[in-house]
Structure formats: structure tokens, C-alpha cells
């Protein structure tokens, strides 16, 4: 557990922890010495001349006082290191999240991450004060006591020497058993937590289909599975829990019986027997404090390990000598991408992108069209380096994105997705996140271009409107305009719009299509769009099918060519004749 603590704390947190461990160890050894001094004290008091007790009592007193001083320092140190721990860990987790590539954040990992950074850090912050101290005491005090026993009765010491390792072994074995069981349970807890979130978030659809708690089996299954996993833990963990207590009682009984028989055959004096029994009680008490802390330690260790795993996850290799893009053009040469499905599957699946080559000149607009699943979004994410291409090179301004420092790359590329995440705050805060120091004119311009200005006008609280968790209080179209405004305010030279206007109503979409043309005059634009009103104006249209670029050219060229694009165009046009009506039979 100490190792894991060092691991998650990193270099900056390790010094106070070193000091704490030394203090706690010193206190534990001194406690052992103090208990040992009870033996001569008691022997004197039980012997013929009780007045022999004073020098021993003085030594005992001195020892306890020093122990108390050390222990006091260790206790307060534990609390202090604990509160440092939460500070350091939260910061490290936040930093790490920002370093990890976005491709790392799958749905499961996102949930795990929020659990770790939220609850779990708080859970482990009590470790130094409440777990580390009992743990160190439970090891060092008994060791000191066993060594000391050799000075009084070698046989007893030898028995203890045999028993104490057994006690530790039993303690370890039961901890290991419980830990294994806990791990199995963690999966069940994770699943049920995910289901609870899913259930809560999807209330509208679940209700509309009459599937509230009674009807939504997946949630109940997950809850039952969690309860079952718990029950299994109780049943299987029982031997683990009981075995240690059983072992201590056994050791006590054994030494009591041996001591009494040695006393009866005259080989052990009465004062020594009684003093050793007092010592034994102290010894068992100390070892038991390990069991006391055992459950907490197990949890802490699991949590620390998971925290450590996330913290050790390697971010994308960053360039040793970062280069700066020469301009804002974007170039894909022979780019291929396939998901790493993990060796288990063997079949590394179909490539998502295959030999994709194109160039987005500076100050131009390119439209990327193609059926869903063709790999359009993957193209977008490769530009922003959410993932790295598995083949070929993605360049911005002539420089491989892998050679651009992450900070520069983030400043160079703005991405707007169809799924918009807004954080709980006002509209203005959500837009300003892109440029906290932006002046009112810049804000107004971004709002005007994105059409957010009309949203602001419609809302009674205007810029100060609270958007709710994830933006839930705004409509899809309103959310999208906030996210577009945000991206525009960031003012990166490369702007990628991935179906960014899908939720806009017609008027707003048309207005934005116009804004896009303005933007193309000063930015490199890649637009993945559904509506042809946007696409027709592109300087270049790329058609992506099954991960490959099958057609490229301007609208007129492609329509004339009579290929896939032309048939999209036709189907699209036909679709507009469609009317919704209730066919009365």
C-alpha cells in the first residue's frame, strides 16, 4: 500500500510521506520497547522486593514519554499529509486528463475517470492518518516484542517466532482473498453505476415506452448482480474474516497452556509467566490492529492502484523538438486508420480509413460528404489528434501533427461536433471558455456569426441564461449555436465542423451557411454537412465512402460527373417533395 501511495503522489508528494513513514515507524518500535519494559516492572512487583521496581519504572516512563511525543507528531502528520493527498491527487488527475488523447476517453473510461477523480480520491485521503499508522504499528510493534521476548524466556520467544509469521500469513491470505473478491465486485458496482446513470439520463425515452424501474430489466439486473456479488463476498469472505481472529485466539490459548505447564514443571517463574502473558496480549492487540485496518486497506489499495493506472497511462508521445505549422493548410497523405481492437480479437477489423489523401488549402472551404459510417468523423478527429493515424501522415502547415506541441495544436484547430457538451453555467461562461479574456466585440461577433445572438435575444436572461447540466435546459439547436460560437471565439486558423448544424432549424441553418462562407475567407474550413445548401458552396467537395475518397471536385463538376454525389443530390432533391400525412384507410 505504501508503494501505491508513493506512486499516486508522484515526486512532489513523496517528501512529506517519507517523513511520515519514519515518524510512524519510530513510534511503533518505541511502543514495542515500552511494552517490553513492563516485564521487569511486573517481575519486580510480583517478586519479593517490590521496591526494585523504581529504576525500571523510570525507564518505562521515559520510554512512554518519548513514544508519546513521536506518536503525537505522527498523528498530526497523518492528518496533514491526508489533506495534501487530496490536493495533489486531484490536481494530478486533472492534469493527466488534459494530457491523455481524447481517443482514450471511451464511455466506460469517462465514467471510471469521474468516479476516480470524484469519490475515490476522497476515499483514499484518509489513508495516511487512519490506515498507514495502524498498518506500520501492526508490523513493527510485534516484531520488536518478539525480539524482546528472547531476553526473558527463549522457549516462549521461539514459539512466538513461529506463531507471529503464521499470524501475518493468515492476515495476508485473508486480505488477498478479500481483495480478489472485491475486484470481482468492483465490476458489478461499475456496471450498476453505469446502468443507474443510463436509467436516469434516458428517463424521457424509458417513460414514453412505459419502462420505468419495474420495466427496465437491465437496471434491475445490474442491481441484483451487484447484490449477488456482495452476497458472494459475504459468504466467501467469511473464512477470510474469521481465520485471523481464530488464529490469534489459538496462539493465545497455546501460549497460555504452554506457560501454565512450564510453570507447573517449575521451568518458568510465576512473575515471568504473568509478565509474558501481559506482553502477549499487547502483541496480539497490535497484530489485530492490522486486521482492524484490513478492510479499509484493501479498498484503499484497490483504489490507489486504479488511480495509479490512470496516472501512469501514457499520453501521446510529445515531440522532443516541437515545430510550428508554417501556415493553416491541412494535408492528409496516404492516411489509414484502424481501431486497435486488442489482440484478443486478432482480426484488427476493417480499416476505418484507407489511403486517404487530400489537401485543404488555407482560406478555403472543403465539404466532406458520404454515408454514415464512411469515416468522416474519424478524419475530423485525426486533424485534432484525438487519435494518431495508423498509416500515413496528417500535416498542418506542412508539419506532421505528431511534431506539433499539444498546446500549439489545440490553438490551431477548432472542432465542433454534433454532440454538444455544455457545462453547467451560463451561456456566456460556456462561450468564454474558449477565450476568457475576449472583449465584448469579439464575443458579439462570434454570437452574430453563429446565430447565437438570436438565441440570446429570445431568452429572458440572455447571456446569463443557465444552461443546466450538459446543457439540458437548452434545445438542441440552441446548444449547437453556443458550441459554434465557442469555436468561433477561439479563432483557431483551422475550423472543422462535424455535422455541427444538424439540430438547427431551417432558417438558422441557412443563416449559418452564409456565415460559413464569410469564415472561409479567413480560415481553413472543413465542413462535414448534411445539407446541400452548405455543401454547394464549397471550394472542394470530397466524397468519402467506406474509408476511401471516391470523388472530389466542385459541386457542378460532381453533379455533371454523375457519380455517388450526383445521386445524393438527386435523392436529396426528391426527398423534399415528401409530405407527412396520415394515410387514412
Amino acid at each position: 500500500m505504501i508503494r501505491q501511495l508513493y506512486r499516486v503522489l508522484g515526486p512532489e508528494g513523496s517528501r512529506p510521506l517519507n517523513r511520515l513513514v519514519i515518524l510512524q515507524s519510530g513510534a511503533a518500535v518505541l511502543q514495542g520497547v515500552a511494552f517490553t519494559l513492563l516485564v521487569p516492572v511486573l517481575k519486580a512487583l510480583l517478586g519479593t522486593d517490590p521496591d526494585d521496581v523504581w529504576p525500571w519504572l523510570a525507564a518505562f516512563t521515559g520510554c512512554v514519554l518519548v513514544y508519546a511525543a513521536l506518536q503525537g507528531a505522527a498523528v498530526s502528520g497523518g492528518f496533514r499529509v491526508g489533506s495534501q493527498l487530496s490536493r495533489v491527487l486531484h490536481r494530478r488527475m486533472a492534469d493527466q486528463a488534459l494530457r491523455l488523447p481524447l481517443g482514450w476517453f471511451t464511455a466506460g473510461r469517462t465514467a471510471e475517470f469521474s468516479r476516480l477523480a470524484g469519490q475515490n480520491v476522497i476515499q483514499v485521503m484518509s489513508t495516511p492518518a487512519h490506515l498507514l499508522r495502524p498498518f506500520i504499528t501492526s508490523v513493527l510493534t510485534p516484531v520488536t516484542l518478539v525480539v524482546a521476548t528472547f531476553f526473558f524466556d527463549v522457549r516462549t520467544a521461539l514459539v512466538l517466532l513461529a506463531c507471529v509469521p503464521v499470524l501475518f500469513a493468515v492476515q495476508q491470505a485473508s486480505t488477498a482473498l478479500m481483495r480478489r473478491l472485491d475486484l470481482g465486485r468492483d465490476a458489478a458496482i461499475g456496471e450498476s453505476a453505469d446502468r443507474v446513470l443510463e436509467y436516469t439520463r434516458n428517463q424521457p425515452v424509458l417513460r414514453a415506452f412505459g419502462r420505468t424501474a419495474e420495466g427496465y430489466g437491465a437496471l434491475d439486473d445490474a442491481l441484483v448482480a451487484e447484490a449477488r456479488a456482495d452476497r458472494r463476498l459475504i459468504v466467501r469472505g467469511l473464512p477470510g474474516l474469521v481465520s485471523f481472529t481464530f488464529a490469534t485466539r489459538l496462539v493465545f490459548a497455546l501460549l497460555l497452556a504452554l506457560g501454565v505447564s512450564w510453570q507447573l514443571d517449575g521451568s518458568l517463574s510465576v512473575p515471568t509467566l504473568l509478565a509474558l502473558l501481559v506482553l502477549l496480549v499487547r502483541l496480539i492487540d497490535s497484530v489485530a490492529s492490522a486486521a482492524e485496518a484490513g478492510a479499509g486497506m484493501r479498498i484503499a489499495r484497490n483504489t490507489l492502484e486504479r488511480l495509479g493506472a490512470v496516472l501512469d497511462e501514457s499520453p501521446f508521445p510529445q515531440p522532443a523538438e516541437p515545430k510550428t505549422p508554417r501556415d493553416a493548410s491541412v494535408e492528409f497523405s496516404g492516411v489509414g486508420f484502424r481501431y486497435d481492437t486488442g489482440a484478443a480479437d486478432g482480426a484488427s477489423a476493417r480499416p476505418v480509413l484507407n489511403d486517404v489523401t487530400f489537401r485543404l488549402p488555407e482560406r478555403s472551404m472543403t465539404a466532406l460528404v458520404g454515408p454514415s459510417g464512411a469515416g468522416k468523423t474519424t478524419v475530423a478527429t485525426l486533424i485534432a489528434r484525438f487519435r494518431d493515424a495508423t498509416e500515413g501522415t496528417v500535416r498542418i502547415g506542412g508539419v506532421d501533427v505528431r511534431e506539433i506541441a499539444a498546446v500549439d495544436l489545440a490553438a490551431y484547430v477548432s472542432l465542433v461536433f454534433q454532440d454538444v457538451y455544455l457545462f453547467d453555467g451560463t451561456i456566456e461562461e460556456n462561450v468564454r471558455i474558449a477565450a476568457p479574456d475576449a472583449g465584448p466585440e469579439e464575443l458579439a461577433e462570434a454570437a452574430a456569426l453563429s446565430g447565437l445572438d438570436r438565441v440570446i435575444e429570445e431568452l429572458p436572461d440572455g447571456w446569463d441564461t443557465k444552461v443546466g447540466e450538459g446543457g439540458a435546459r437548452l434545445s438542441g439547436g440552441q446548444r449547437q449555436r453556443v458550441s459554434i460560437a465557442r469555436a468561433l471565439l477561439k479563432d483557431a486558423p483551422v475550423l472543422v465542423l462535424d455535422e455541427a448544424t444538424a439540430a438547427l432549424d431551417q432558417e438558422n441553418e441557412a443563416l449559418f451557411a452564409e456565415a460559413v462562407r464569410t469564415l472561409a475567407e479567413r480560415k481553413t474550413l472543413l465542413v462535414i454537412a448534411h445539407r446541400l445548401s452548405t455543401v454547394v458552396h464549397a471550394d472542394q467537395i470530397l466524397v468519402l465512402e467506406d474509408g476511401e475518397i471516391t470523388e472530389r471536385g466542385t459541386h457542378d463538376e460532381l453533379v455533371t460527373a454523375g457519380g455517388t454525389y450526383a445521386s445524393f443530390w438527386e435523392r436529396r432533391s426528391r426527398a423534399h417533395g415528401w409530405r407527412l400525412e396520415a394515410a387514412r384507410s
Binding site: 511486573l42 477523480a117 441484483v224 510453570q263 489545440a410 459541386h555 423534399h576
Partner: protein, 629 residues
């Protein structure tokens, strides 16, 4: 046996146990007791067993003390006198072991049942809360109640309860025994306990307020962490110099500051409290005084032995119970939060359920407000005759979605009534309502379940043939068959659907559910142009023969609707058929005109413009610029 979650309080705390056990006066509603009611019997039995364990645990030490007495009083030791005592010590230990194990197992199993019961109750309750309330609370807080708070109760019932019992029972028994050995020294042995209690209660002064703040801070961190992780893409793309995740950092820093402050203010007293009950310190006190007593011949050396064996145990459990107080407080706070959620008013279930007769939907004087101040809808009267199409038209934010959300009862009207087949929606049992009202909205939610189960959502017992039939009608069958496991493919893990595909799946879902009244967001029809025609086919299949309420975006789509309702600022400003409204020359006519000229793909007969779409569009722009600016 499970998580012992945060023993996070800065200090082990005093067993101001009397107060806590009796239920502190400032906690009158006793949410803990109420929540634990279903397992109270088993918990009581566990408590009894635990008390027996404590008793049996003290007996071996008493036996050893008797042995000490036998050995030191005069005549040479006699095995016959000693062995029964050894046997007593051993068997008492065994009894303690058995009772303790039984108590632990019983408490855990009771708690295990309780957890499941509580989580199910919470889930059921969440399913009945008004949606607005859920949006307000946020999913983070719901998760905290269902997962973390229930786990905090586990700590309390399965661990803390028994610990507290042994901590209370054992010292009392020990003290009674020690009083019989030497009352003076026995009284002295209570001194560390008294001092400890005094110091702890000093350290814990105001702890209730602090714990509340602790819980609140924890909630904030949880919410901030969920938000941080969910919004990571935003933070990474926009966060310059780490400013973006400020809120998360602020929540954690705020917590750390609060916590450090709490620790600092109680550090001295809580450290002192731990020290006065430390075994070595207690033994120093007892040995020092004991030495005086023995040398003064006030007691024998043998009489000192039980004090050295048991003395530390009088006060030591306080060190153990310390963190338990935190757990009790955490448990109480958790119980309060759980109870709060369980007590949150649900959408009222009808007291006298009424079944709708027919499917005529009618809104009378309906108003709705999200925040109680501004009305999202006001005074809406509307009738949806069976088998007709009604289209809601209006600028975004005019209340179209809000109005539509009243039909599936995502919200209840704040004034006025919504009736279906003559019955007020609030009087229709939920299951009956959902059988009659279905919906396909733009924001499609797929569940992490197989494709087939996603389609079956509204009718879990539907046969595979029915599922397939609906999937075909919704034009999603082919796509499903292309998935690795076809209909059995789990969604949301390896496979994700595009927007258009998800929409077709939701159409299949609605087809299978087969509700006669359908709320439909027409935007679904053109979210994904590549499957647009497919979606339209699906919607046409779905619309057939139903009462439709359509949230309209593209007016051309709904121009043959039986009734078009124009909403502005939550009020119905016009209604009628397309031609009538055009002729009236009002708001609808203006919207129609704007849309007709909005873009090359929005007017009928686009192919004719094929040769010169750009020019045509420019002209449209000019018109709009002229009118809008």
C-alpha cells in the same frame, strides 16, 4: 466486508455515544431508523450476538487473572486448579469467535437485502419523478444517492453498528470486573476514557455542521468530476493553460481548503485525544500508580495483573470508535439525502384511475412554466382529432417541444388540462397512457442493450418476427443485418449508430409500440441526408392511421397537415390548413415565404435549379438580408 468508505474526518471522534445512540435531539426525523426498518429484526439479533461476543471476549482475561491470583497466593501451583481455568479461557474465546462471526454475517446479509431494496425503491422513485426535477438535480446527484449513499449505509449497518456495540459493551464488563479486584485503581483506569471523551468532544464541536459541509463539498466534487470527464473534449479543445477545467479544480481546492482548515482547527485536541487513550500511556498510568499501591501494600502484585491485561481495553476502543463517529455522521447524512430523494414528490398517480375512451386529445387553457416565473406555454387550446395530423410551427424557443412533451407527460401542465379520450392525463395510469402515446424525437436515446431489445423497448414480449417486421418498415433492417451479431448486437459498446440510423431504429421502436397517438419531431426526417429518404419511408409507415402531433421544422413537409398550429412565445397565434393560413397572410405565410426562398434544397423542384443553384441562392440571400436586417 465491503467498502469502508471515507473514514475521512480529520479526527477519530469521541464516542459521545449516549447521545448518538439515543438519536441526537437535533435529528428528530430519524431517517436512518426509517430506512433500516425492513431489516430491523435481523439487525437487532446481530446486535445481541455482538454483545454476547464482547462478553465472551472478556472471559479469557478474567480466567488469566484468576490464574495469576492462584499462582501468587501461597502454596505451590496445583494443576487441578489451573487447567479448568485454561479450558475456560479457550472455550470462551471460541464462543466469542462463533458469536462474532454470526453477528457479522447476519448484519451483512441484512444490509445486503437492504441495499437492494433501497436501490430498487430509489430507481422506482426516479422513474416517477417529474423530469424537470431530474434535470435540476442532475444525474451526478442521483448516482450519489443510489450508489454512494447506499454504500455509506452499508458501512454503518454492516460494520459500524457492531463495532459500536462491542466498544460499548466490553469496557463496561471489564470495568465491573476491575471494580471487584481493586476499586481505587479501577476508578483510575476510567480517567483516560473520561479525558479522551472530553478532548474528543472538544475536537468534534461543530462537527455536525462540518460534516454537512463535507457532504456538500463531496457532492460538488462528484458533480464537477462527472462534468469534467464528460466535457473533456471541450476542455481539451478550448482550455488554454488549464483555465477551462477551473470549476473542477475550484471544487477540489475548495474542498482541500475546507478540509485543511477543519484539520488545523482540531489538530491539537484530536491528537491529544488519541494519545491519552494509547495503550502505552494508559499502562504508564496504571503501572505507576500500581507500583505505589503495591509498594505501599495497598494491593498485591497479582491484583495488578488484571489491570495490565484489561486496563488498556477500557479506553482503547475509543481509538477504534473514533472513525466510527464519522461513519455514523456520514451514514446519517447519506440517509438524509436518500430520504430526501425518496420524499421528492412524484408525478402524482391517479387516485381514481380513469381509462381513456378513444384517442381524442384535447388541451384546454394549458400553461406551463419550467421555473415558476416565465411561462413557456400560456393558455393553449388545441384538439387533435383521431387519425389527423397536427403540425406545430414556430421559431425555436416558441414552446413547440414543451407542448409536445406534455402529451407523454414528461411534465404536467401548470394550469389547464390535457385530456386523452376524455380522461385527464393525470388520471390515466402510467402504463395505460404509454400504451396510447408514443413518440419519436430528434434526440434519440439508445440503450446499452441489444438492437432487438432496443426496438422492443415498448413491448418487451414482442416476437422476433414482429421486431424484424418493424425494422424493415423503418428501413433499418439491412443495416442491422450488416452488424456483426445482427439483432443480437449490443449497442453502445462496440457498435454505435449514426444519427440517421438511430432515428430509424427509434421509428422501429415506435412502430412496434404501436401507440395510436404519436408525438413526432419532424427534424428527424432530415438529420442525415444519406438516409433521409429511408427515414421518410419509415415515418410514412409510422404515421399511417395514427393521431399525429408533429413538431415541424420544414414547412414543406407538413403542408398537407390537417391542422397547422403557429406558436409564438408559448401562445397559439394562428391555426388552420396550409392554404387558409397562406391566404390569411399572417405569421405562417411569412415563415413559408422565408423558407421557400431560404436555400436551393428547400424549395420543391430543386433539380430544375441544378445548373445555377449558386445564383439562385444568392438571390435568396439578398431577399433575406433585405428583410432581416
Amino acid at each position: 466486508m465491503k467498502s469502508r468508505p471515507p473514514e475521512a474526518g480529520p479526527a477519530p471522534a469521541a464516542p459521545d455515544t449516549a447521545a448518538d445512540r439515543a438519536g441526537t435531539p437535533d435529528n428528530p426525523p430519524r431517517p436512518l431508523r426509517t430506512l433500516a426498518a425492513p431489516v430491523r429484526g435481523r439487525l437487532a439479533l446481530a446486535v445481541g450476538l455482538q454483545a454476547a461476543t464482547a462478553l465472551a471476549g472478556v472471559v479469557p482475561f478474567i480466567a488469566v487473572s484468576r490464574i495469576a491470583e492462584r499462582l501468587t497466593t501461597g502454596s505451590p501451583a496445583d494443576g487441578d486448579a489451573l487447567w479448568p481455568l485454561v479450558a475456560l479461557a479457550c472455550s470462551a474465546g471460541l464462543v466469542a469467535l462463533v458469536c462474532g462471526t454470526a453477528a457479522g454475517a447476519l448484519a451483512h446479509i441484512a444490509d445486503n437485502d437492504l441495499q437492494l431494496t433501497l436501490r430498487r425503491r430509489l430507481a422506482r422513485h426516479i422513474g416517477r419523478l417529474p423530469l424537470g426535477r431530474l434535470t435540476e438535480r442532475g444525474t451526478g446527484e442521483v448516482k450519489q444517492a443510489v450508489q454512494d449513499d447506499v454504500s455509506a449505509l452499508h458501512t454503518l449497518f454492516a460494520h459500524t453498528l457492531l463495532d459500536v456495540i462491542s466498544v460499548l459493551t466490553a469496557p463496561v464488563l471489564i470495568l465491573i470486573y476491575l471494580l471487584t479486584v481493586d476499586w481505587r485503581l479501577a476508578l483510575v483506569s476510567v480517567v483516560p476514557l473520561v479525558l479522551g471523551v472530553f478532548l474528543f468532544s472538544r475536537a468534534m464541536a461543530g462537527a455536525a455542521a462540518q460534516m454537512a459541509e463535507f457532504g456538500a463539498a463531496l457532492g460538488r466534487i462528484s458533480a464537477a468530476a462527472v462534468e469534467f470527464a464528460s466535457g473533456i473534449a471541450v476542455f481539451k479543445s478550448f482550455g488554454r493553460g488549464g483555465k477551462a477545467h477551473e470549476r473542477f479544480v475550484r471544487a477540489t481546492e475548495g474542498f482541500a481548503d475546507f478540509f485543511s482548515g477543519w484539520v488545523r482547527s482540531t489538530l491539537l485536541t484530536s491528537t491529544a485525544a488519541i494519545l491519552v487513550v494509547a495503550p502505552a500511556v494508559v499502562l504508564l498510568l496504571l503501572t505507576g500508580l500500581g507500583a505505589v499501591f503495591v509498594t505501599q501494600d495497598w494491593m498485591t502484585g497479582a491484583e495488578l495483573v488484571p489491570f495490565l491485561l484489561l486496563g488498556p481495553a477500557v479506553a482503547a476502543p475509543m481509538g477504534v470508535v473514533g472513525p466510527r463517529i464519522q461513519q455514523i455522521r456520514a451514514g446519517q447524512a447519506a440517509a438524509v439525502r436518500i430520504t430526501e430523494l425518496l420524499d421528492a414528490p412524484t408525478l402524482p398517480e391517479p387516485t381514481t384511475p380513469v381509462l381513456p375512451e378513444g384517442h381524442h386529445v384535447s388541451l384546454r387553457g394549458v400553461s406551463f412554466s419550467y421555473d415558476g416565473n416565465t411561462d413557456a406555454l400560456s393558455g393553449v387550446d388545441l384538439d387533435l382529432a383521431p387519425g389527423t395530423v397536427t403540425a406545430l410551427v414556430g421559431p425555436s424557443g416558441s414552446g413547440k417541444s414543451t407542448l409536445a412533451s406534455l402529451l407523454p407527460r414528461f411534465h404536467d401542465a401548470t394550469a389547464g388540462t390535457v385530456t386523452l379520450g376524455g380522461a385527464d392525463l393525470r388520471d390515466i395510469p402510467a402504463t395505460e397512457l404509454y400504451r396510447r402515446v408514443g413518440f419519436v424525437l430528434q434526440d434519440v436515446r439508445l440503450l446499452r442493450a441489444s438492437v432487438a431489445d432496443n426496438i422492443r423497448l415498448g413491448r418487451p414480449d414482442a416476437s422476433h418476427e414482429e421486431v424484424q417486421r418493424c425494422a424493415r418498415a423503418a428501413r433499418i433492417h439491412d443495416r442491422i443485418m450488416a452488424l456483426p451479431d445482427g439483432y443480437a448486437t449490443e449497442l453502445g459498446t462496440a457498435v454505435t449508430f449514426s444519427g440517421g440510423e438511430a432515428q430509424r431504429l427509434s421509428i422501429a421502436r415506435a412502430l412496434l409500440a404501436d401507440a395510436p397517438v404519436l408525438v413526432l419531431d419532424e427534424a428527424t426526417a432530415y438529420a442525415d441526408p444519406h438516409s433521409e429518404a429511408l427515414i421518410q419511408d419509415g415515418l410514412s409507415a409510422l404515421a399511417a392511421g395514427r393521431t399525429l402531433l408533429v413538431i415541424a421544422h420544414r414547412l414543406s413537409t407538413i403542408r398537407s397537415a390537417d391542422r397547422i398550429v403557429v406558436l409564438e412565445d408559448g401562445r397559439v397565434t394562428e391555426q388552420g390548413r396550409h392554404d387558409d393560413l397562406l391566404a390569411a397572410g399572417g405569421r405562417y405565410a411569412a415563415l413559408w415565404e422565408a423558407q421557400r426562398t431560404a436555400g436551393p434544397d428547400e424549395t420543391d423542384g430543386v433539380p430544375h435549379h441544378r445548373s445555377a443553384p449558386v445564383g439562385a441562392d444568392r438571390a435568396a440571400d439578398d431577399i433575406r438580408e433585405g428583410s432581416a436586417r
